[in-house]
């Protein structure tokens, strides 16, 4: 296993549509064997003469050794790039860079883990659950979404997890409300030692707060808008407190996507906190710029 990602022409093996999601399997030799849960891949979209220059990033839901290594991603159509992906057909070639980013840190001991995911971001939790199982950990799933269509992999979670609970905002599946509302009770009943979470910022912030309340760590995978996925463009800067206690604008794609929840300055996402390293002096000292 190496830390370096690869860039390979991936061959589309299968593309299935289920509800709001498209599930795509790609033969991407080198990516599968290097992959660790929580990492993602960055795909080029639009073909050779593409007018779309930014990469599209996706969590990997599953890797298999078949055909030299396959990866499975799950996505919904959001804009032009995902629209293009959804129209591909078997044998089409897609440029894949990956696996990218820091994976979820794994517990050394056989502990109980909550795996909380919202919508497509839940994809990142399934390979994690598999690895946790191998280490005799107990993964307990909490899955959420806007409606039943939006909850990803509830069935698979029943197989992969010790327990599964679902919440939807419209109440069409599981309990009605935010999935994080279920977290305190689960932490208590299951005696959870760590929370892994993946989903919108608001969810991750709440998860972090709840976990902190119980004195357990929250490892969260953040989905900041990305453009390269490889660390060269500075699109994905997030205010995060470093080991030195100072706030740094770090790149989510290289230093994340997984962060320890309490390190992320959730309330300042989308800003440059005045006390961040290198923040505009005008803000720090009240000088004129």
């Amino acid at each position: 296993m190496t830390d370096s990602p690869v860039q390979v022409p991936g061959t589309l093996l299968t593309l299935r549509r289920a509800g709001a999601y498209h599930t795509m399997t790609l033969v991407a030799p080198g990516v599968a064997e290097r992959f660790r849960p929580g990492q993602f891949v960055a795909l080029a979209v639009g073909g050779e003469q593409s007018s779309m220059l930014l990469r599209r990033c996706f969590f990997v839901r599953e890797v298999k050794p078949d055909y030299g290594g396959t990866i499975e991603i799950v996505f919904s159509v959001r804009g032009k790039g995902t629209g293009w992906l959804a129209a591909l057909r078997p044998r089409d070639i897609i440029d894949v860079a990956g696996p990218l980013g820091r994976p979820f840190p794994l517990p050394r001991d056989p502990v109980t883990c909550v795996l909380l995911g919202v919508a497509h971001a839940s994809a990142a939790l399934f390979p994690l659950a598999a690895v946790l199982r191998q280490r005799d950990c107990r993964p307990c799933f909490l899955l959420g979404g806007a409606g039943s269509d939006d909850v990803l992999g509830a069935r698979g979670a029943r197989r992969a997890g010790d327990s599964v609970a679902v919440a939807t905002r419209d109440g069409s599946l599981g309990s009605a409300g935010q999935v994080e509302d279920l977290l305190p009770e689960l932490i208590e009943t299951a005696g959870a030692d760590v929370v892994y979470a993946c989903g919108p910022l608001d969810t991750l912030r709440t998860v972090t707060r709840i976990a902190a309340g119980y004195g357990i760590p929250a490892q969260v995978a953040v989905e900041e808008p990305m453009a390269c996925g490889t660390g060269v463009c500075m699109a994905c800067a997030l205010p995060v407190v470093g080991d030195d206690g100072a706030t740094h604008m770090v790149r989510t794609c290289v230093e994340g996507p997984v962060f320890r929840g309490e390190r992320v300055r959730w309330d300042d996402v989308g800003t440059i906190p005045f006390d961040a390293l290198g923040a505009p002096r005008a803000l720090r000292l009240g000088e004129r710029p």
Binding site: S4, L54, D95, T230, G270, I272, G278
Partner: protein, 332 residues
Amino acid sequence: MSVDLRARLGHAVLPNPIMTAAGCGGAGRELGRFFDVAKLGAFVTPSIAPEPRAGRPAPRLAETPSGVLNSTGLQGPGIDVFLTRDLPWLDQQGARAVVSIAGNSIEDYAEVAARLADAPGVTAVEINTACPNVGDRGLMFAAHPMAAAEVVRAVRAHTRRGVPVLAKLSADVTDVVGVAMACADAGADGLSMINTLHGMVVDTTTLRPRLAGVTGGLSGPAIRPVAVRCVYQVHAALPEVPIVGMGGVRTGLDALELVLAGASAVAVGTANIHDPSASVRILRELETALRERGIARLADAVGLAHKPAGTLIRRIDPNVGVGEPTEQETLQ
């Protein structure tokens, strides 16, 4: 046929003409995971300021047709960390570092240049003149020939003789040749062009500017024709001043286009975002393209588009590969 790819920028001779564009290749390690950065003619760093900079709030990048709009605010570690962390890494790899420098005053630029003067492993210094000048209501230095020239003079004064100073110009001016001439007169050993074009995207969902910085810099293949025009005009006016051409280079033929227009070397920017292996691929493609055209030395191709048709080179149909030159195709 082997192709002599060496590229000369003032006192510096690079083994090949392909480099990264400032701010588009990370500090080096990022692309280093995909290929050996020492393979490139040079590695251009993000623009380094005297102090660390946190940059602009997100969103910082937007996709535009065949382009990218960015407003990163030159996030960077500042010269101290750069000298202790990033520059030594490049040096260890055997990469030739071209250090891009940023500032908001003449003093800023001079300070960074002075700090670089004693650092080992600096192949050239590139001045990012598109920074806002706090002394001139935030107008970029590149907007006025005199302001740009002043920066060049300051940096040249603090840089060792053997280290070429490149002035990086903006195309967002009425007369790019005038700015180029002022910079050359002020002692620039070469000119890099072009920086991003001033642009903006409005989000039709939020009905607000897409970038937190409101406006930003447009780059990518969309702007290549503007880059080619600037390189062509400046090479015509200053044929003896080496140019690092950049703007929208995505393939070896795109790089060749800038060379034909007058560039002695070519930098790859946005393409790295789209394809992390772009720069080594482009180097390979450029070499093939030169070979197919029977051009034995890169230097022979520099500015060839200015010469009458048929000069030196046979015409080829790139779809077909190289044929025997026919009568019409040889020297005329």
